[in-house]
Amino acid sequence: MRSKLFILFALLVSVSMVLAACQPQPAATPEKIVETVVVAGTPEVVVITPTPEPKPAGPKVLHLNMGPGDIPTIDPALSTDTSSVQIVDETTVGLTRQNEETTLIEPGMATSWDVVNNDDGTQTVTFHLRDDVYWVKYDGTQVSQVMDCQETPQPRKVTAQDFAYGILRTLSPKTASDYAYVLTFAIKGAADYNSGKSEDPATVGVKAIDDKTLEVTFVDQVVYNLNIIGMWVAHAQPKWLIEGDDCTEARGDRWTETGFFQGYGPFTLKEWVHDSYITLVKNPFWPGSDSVPQPKIDEVTWTMLDEAPAFADYEAGNLDSAAVPLADIDRVKADPTLSAQLKIAPDLCTYYYGFNTKAPVVDDVRVRRALSMAVDRQSLIDNVTKGNQEPAQWFARPGLAGAPTIDKYPDLGVKFDPEKAKAELQSYLDEKGLTADKLDITLMFNTSSGHQKIAEAIQQMWKDTLGVNVKLVNQEWKVYLKTIRGKDTPQIWRLGWCQDYPDANNFDREVVVPGGSANPDPEGKVGGFAWKNDKYDELVAQAAKETDPVKRTDLYAQAEQILVYEDAVMIPIYWYTRVTVTKPYVQRTFSVLGGLEHIEKWDITQQ
């Protein structure tokens, strides 16, 4: 009796859960019958899809999501991740600013600049700044200008000195900025100042000639100098607020909190409730320019939600745009309303497996090439990752300045080619007198269900195509990072790379050449690729200095061919995309800069 009741109840429970989990049948396409026209006796129904329902009039408020967890910081000197940089880029503007769709460099706070190549190999760039931009803060009711300490207080303008202070603050060893390194590589004297070898800020190649002129001396005569100087770590920072002056209390590293914060970009901070949301409000004093227009939206709020709850909030109408969780992608594509709001846009990141080229078995290039060519990237994307990623043929993702594109270089790099893969491996096996199932290869990745699924799929592809049994090992993230940068670096390891600034140099040189972040030591004592190829190093060094874009891309294409095919030190797997849905009343741009949006270009359609 008792057990029967239990079974009955268990059935009820499971049925109710199945019912609850079922999604409703997608509603028929919302069509409006506008008029019925009778033409020559045949009734013809004119059907149009309704134009986006506009929002009611009133202040234009945008609701977006930032991802789970608090924004680590909104201090330009300390920011490292996209969420921080998103806020920094809206509240302050660099000397140059990158177009988020074309990745081209456009004027930011500097309206023009003069480039002089010096005889000693350095480069001096003189930036001419705008004269009509003021420091502002949100005072609880509205945005107002920040006043200075004179007897009759004057509004504080953003000056070349503020930029010089910002750059030096980022570089100061006391600030301990993670991303100071992009400046230490680029600006003359910056490395010594940052490491404490020189304590005199005057040794750094940054000089404010007057209020509107800033002179920066760069180590190399390379094209991406203008990219680097526009990065968040080189934005102007308010010295009086951080260190205090006659009429301002020093706030130190807390200056970015609600109530203290001062900025000058198209938006400024209204409220930051940690772990919950951050609200920016339009800065009416931002004069606007072609590249950074005056915002049309009055207020933007980012919540800090995980993907799944954020998507629920989007469906409930509380968010205006959200990322689509992997589990919901198929449903969104099938739903007529949601699929119309769906956009899959490129993201400047590459997912790859690296080889420890000093480790047994994979120290032979034929094995590496075979493993790389045996990965069916399209099938992986269609069946496992599902986000419409693009199969990667090389490392520097198309869209980066200088990077080859599939249009122009359809056959560059490495593709799925099972026959060639088998031949490469067979040649190795014949020489060593081995069989494929005897090869001992380990693939390591950091613990995560996503990486696990990808690794299992690729493991199966290797087994099916080559007959190789590759072992999978995973480690917790920080332990994993230690392992792949130590002497026990596994034969194959996983990493991804997202742009710091969208130039192929950031991928092909800063990650890959000896000393780069994935190749710390060509001897292999501290992990990474453990690889050195003089021709490759020469090509990427040459490309960094090349000013002709076509020749430059060609140099990177040659370098990539060495990297992923001739030496095959990595398996490029896919190039990232971002899958988002946006309500139809939002007019927006789609950034390729790792999700870094320029909201000042967005608008909301109202009644």
Binding site: R2, L5, F6, F9, V13, M17, A20, A21, P24, P68, D70, P72, T73, I74, T80, P173, T175, A176, S177, D178, A180, Y181, T184, A191, N194, S195, G196, R251, G252, D253, R254, T256, E257, V273, H274, D275, S276, T303, M304, L305, D306, A308, P309, A310, A312, D313, A316, G317, N318, E476, W477, K478, V479, L481, K482, T483, W497, D500, S517, P520
Partner: protein, 351 residues
């Protein structure tokens, strides 16, 4: 009793020092540090970061400094500046001197915040959610358990225990999205995510405004979180009550003609509560200090995720802070449990 509590408080300090020692040792023994990133940092940058957070000091010095900052009150003439370095959980003014106590240090991953900020801004939210979830658990769990025990082997018993089994076996990660989908997305009765209160809090933990705007956020997470605990309470209450009503003194009470209702409430129920109270203490500590999954599913800005993310980030001060906080709540909750024992069973004496 007063002396007993004082003695337990001294034990608390000892427990905290032992816990802090073990935690400190373990977190430094695990490979990987707070500044190991996917993008490896150059050694100079790493040196700056380590020097800023004194990670280049010998471990024993770091540990003693931590104990000194957390446990030893400072008495100075200097007013608290509220900077990252000078942020104390408890500050009080005595004459023209300031007493400053408990500096848990900065967070490495949130660079403009301290561990004390997390305690001040996130703990109140978790405490509110946890308290409501515990109330839900008690309000559902106790009656279910009592009904099941009194009507043992009847349809009431089966239904109650089925509800309990449902609560235990359906985790928040399943129940949460289902609730959100029904009440948040489809019916739009309740907001799918978020929390209805934000700093500052009354007395440091109570929401400033209480009303529908507050509770509409709290209903789904409290029910989702409380249901699992209610099942534990229901089953425990049932088992304990079943045992108690077979005791001799219940038979005696019935034999002398006492009303059944009085027998149950005054004799059986009170005596059967001891195991329930025992489990409610640690349950309270666990719920109130934050629940990772519930907060993630419902987008609640509470403490729960810091227990997890601090460890994956190797954010040493946050790891130490969250674990010590949990230890404090656990010890104090158990102290309350012991005091309630003395009320429930007069034979228990502590002096």
């Amino acid at each position: 009793m007063g002396r007993y509590i004082a003695r337990r408080m001294i034990y608390l300090v000892v427990v905290l020092i032992v816990v802090s020692f073990i935690t400190f040792g373990l977190m430094h023994a695990v490979p990987g540090g707070p500044f190991d990133r996917e993008k490896a940092l150059p050694p100079e940058i790493m040196a700056n970061l380590e020097s800023r957070y004194h990670l280049d000091d010998p471990l024993w010095k770091q540990y003693l400094q931590y104990l000194y900052d957390v446990f030893v009150p400072r008495i100075t003439a200097e007013a608290p500046k509220g900077t990252l370095q000078d942020d104390y959980l408890i500050t009080a003014r005595v004459g023209n001197m300031w007493i400053k106590w408990m500096n848990f240090g900065p967070s490495y991953s949130s660079r403009s915040r301290t561990v004390n900020d997390i305690f001040r801004q996130q703990l109140p939210i978790s405490a509110q959610l946890g308290t409501m979830a515990l109330l839900v658990a008690l309000i559902i769990g106790m009656p279910l358990g009592i009904i099941a025990a009194l009507k043992q082997n009847t349809i009431f018993d089966y239904i109650s225990m089925s509800v309990a089994i449902f609560g235990v076996s359906v985790p928040v990660i399943v129940l949460g999205p289902i609730l959100i989908w029904i009440f948040g997305v489809t019916l739009k009765w309740l907001p799918p995510t978020g929390w209805g209160a934000k700093p500052p809090y009354i007395l440091g933990f109570l929401p400033a405004h209480i009303g529908w705007d507050y509770f509409k956020f709290a209903i789904m997470p409290s029910v989702a979180l409380g249901l699992g605990s209610s099942a534990v309470i229901a089953r425990l209450t049932r088992a304990s009550l079943l045992q108690t009503i077979r005791e001799d003194y219940i038979r005696t009470a019935r034999a002398k003609g006492l009303q059944e209702q009085l027998v149950i409430t005054r004799h059986a129920l009170k005596n059967s509560l001891i195991p329930v109270v025992t489990i409610v203490g640690p349950m309270f500590a666990a719920l109130v200090t934050g629940t990772f999954v519930t907060e993630l599913v419902f987008g609640i800005p509470g403490m729960g995720k810091y227990f997890v993310t601090s460890i994956t980030n190797r954010d040493y001060p946050v790891i130490m802070g969250t674990i010590l906080l949990y230890a404090v709540f656990l010890v104090i909750a158990n102290l309350f449990v012991d005091i309630i024992y003395a009320y429930l069973d007069p034979r228990i004496r502590y002096d």
